[in-house]
Symmetry: C2
Subunit: 391 residues, 2 copies
Amino acid sequence: MKRILSSLAICLAVAGSLQAQELANFSFGRGMKPIVSPEIKNDSVTFRLKADYATVVKLSGSWMENPWTGTIDMKRGENNVWSVQIPLPSPEIYTYNFVVDGVNVNDPQNILVQRDGTRFLPMLLVPGERTENYGEAKLQHGTVSHPWYHSEILGMDRRLTVYTPYGYENNPKKKYPVLYLLHGAGGDEEAWSSMGRAAQILDNLIEKGLAEPMIVVMPNGNANQAAARTLNIPEKQMNWDRNALQNMSEAERSKLMNGYVRSLCEEIVPFIEKNFRAIAKPSSRAIAGLSMGGGHTISASILYPEMFDYICPLSAAGSATPEQIATLKKAGVKLYFLACGNTDFLFQGAEDMHKKLTEQGLEHEYFVSDGGHVWSNWRLYLNTFAQKLFK
Amino acid sequence: MKRILSSLAICLAVAGSLQAQELANFSFGRGMKPIVSPEIKNDSVTFRLKADYATVVKLSGSWMENPWTGTIDMKRGENNVWSVQIPLPSPEIYTYNFVVDGVNVNDPQNILVQRDGTRFLPMLLVPGERTENYGEAKLQHGTVSHPWYHSEILGMDRRLTVYTPYGYENNPKKKYPVLYLLHGAGGDEEAWSSMGRAAQILDNLIEKGLAEPMIVVMPNGNANQAAARTLNIPEKQMNWDRNALQNMSEAERSKLMNGYVRSLCEEIVPFIEKNFRAIAKPSSRAIAGLSMGGGHTISASILYPEMFDYICPLSAAGSATPEQIATLKKAGVKLYFLACGNTDFLFQGAEDMHKKLTEQGLEHEYFVSDGGHVWSNWRLYLNTFAQKLFK
């Protein structure tokens, strides 16, 4: 037994002293005061970066008026640690980066990172009422998995992100309702779980008893992709030639352009209901999506009006005709949650849709928030409508 | 139907024109020649970075003789694109970064990223025989999931990474053998799936018929952590006070110091065998681990000699007594795969262990590779011993 103890002691000692690749995240440069960044104190936040030879260091963040080009100058201090203190932005999740002599740099002190498309960005979570469900839940975590389903329609195996709620493993006879949660253009099957904090939001809401335990399915909405581009799987060449499209029959064209929505409803839904303990009926199926995914949500509700009783287009790029809305109403809808930011470039589309739904007498909730076409709104919408599902 | 088509057309058009957060990974700055980095051509690879205002730009990579401090100068070219062309390193997975005026910078053109501890690093995969199983498999992908198990022993819910092989979902009656795959100091439950390419290696080996379809379980080996530090869950204060340890009885001390190994064998193994379709017998259980995880592997084989028929300590920080080896031999071992690099600082420990196993007549495979205590060896070992399991 002593030999085991001493072996483990070696392991622990090794961790402190070596320059092996495995140990890359141990801090080197002992003796130096550790640099903390970002540091929230009262009503301010300070960012710091050690940059010995830089000429100009700036900070750029998604809370700024122009998050793409706006920057704040940082000042060189002791030991060439550059810093800037700013008033704490309002409670929300932000991403930011430093700009060192014109080049974007991630914050090496910040272990919180969000993946946006193919970029990994340092994250700032400002605590407050709005963000209380965005951090890790206290005790109860669901399982996030990445199964692959086969799509005959799109001609490839495709990767999904699936959240099963806390308790799924320990209640082997319990069945759950399912939310299909769709991303926008530029996103992939990890958009909602990274930028959208979907697992954290559901964990918190379920732990607090504010949402029903549910499965959440987050597919890849790009019909040419098997999986996120970060997996580096060759993409399929899609035939989006405008002339070819115009020469097709309407049926052919619809089949081609709605390939993903068809795969969702005819392949993903059955895959989930076979491989997970899902309740396979419309009153236990919800569909929600942002931007392009809001368009997919509307298309799915039109092409498969009987499939989902809960329909939530968010900042949606999409619309429907009065006839299509009438058909949907007839099929039965338990919740139609239409959400958009009041400065979103798609706001007029949401207003029009609200008007049409009202005219057709389809009872719905029209949720208008401040702001534009951004993740802060989509997290807010998920945190809001998830509490209304399956009740 | 036409309305649906035009909605989808809007989505696609939107993708090309907007500055929304969701679209961050679309390329801006149209008209500029796209920068490609890294670019492999024949026997060389070129790295490029646009840095308008930098004074000195260097390249640092894990293939260099001293990957921590070695750098190569890059040269400013047209449009302030800095570049350097180097001879292609031998086939392997490398990480690298730029150093802009003294600050580490990731390659914004490279969508392949590995997470090492809390750092996200650009990855260079040099193709060749050695790396042919490290990229995505052609067609058949397993499922990677992150379930949480409850540990009474360590007093918290803890996160696992679990790989189930291609076909798991479509063969609901098939049961599988299980490999428990442990990381080293500084790692976490995502070390093997990111730096170790475990899912890719298993996918490729299984697709080619070179390995048995198996479940791979990758726990978090840090007894104080519920999950990877990147999840930002407060860590538990562990009582590693040396004086306190010395004053304990041997039983108490063993219980404390082997808490993780006990949780592995008494909690994780039962959790997996209950929640996955695992074959629950020693001949269908393998355990392997690198560095500290090699120590855990040896400890588990000593404390639970009947549990695993396949035992693979890799660059292990650990040892066993002749009596412990004799007990293990008596319990029955189908494969003992002992691996180490010939320049590893732990190489002498592997030599000693090899000698002891030989002296006790425990049949084993002693696999010595070139190089040190690095992931290139651990990927090679996994790619090698996974082909020998459960046959």
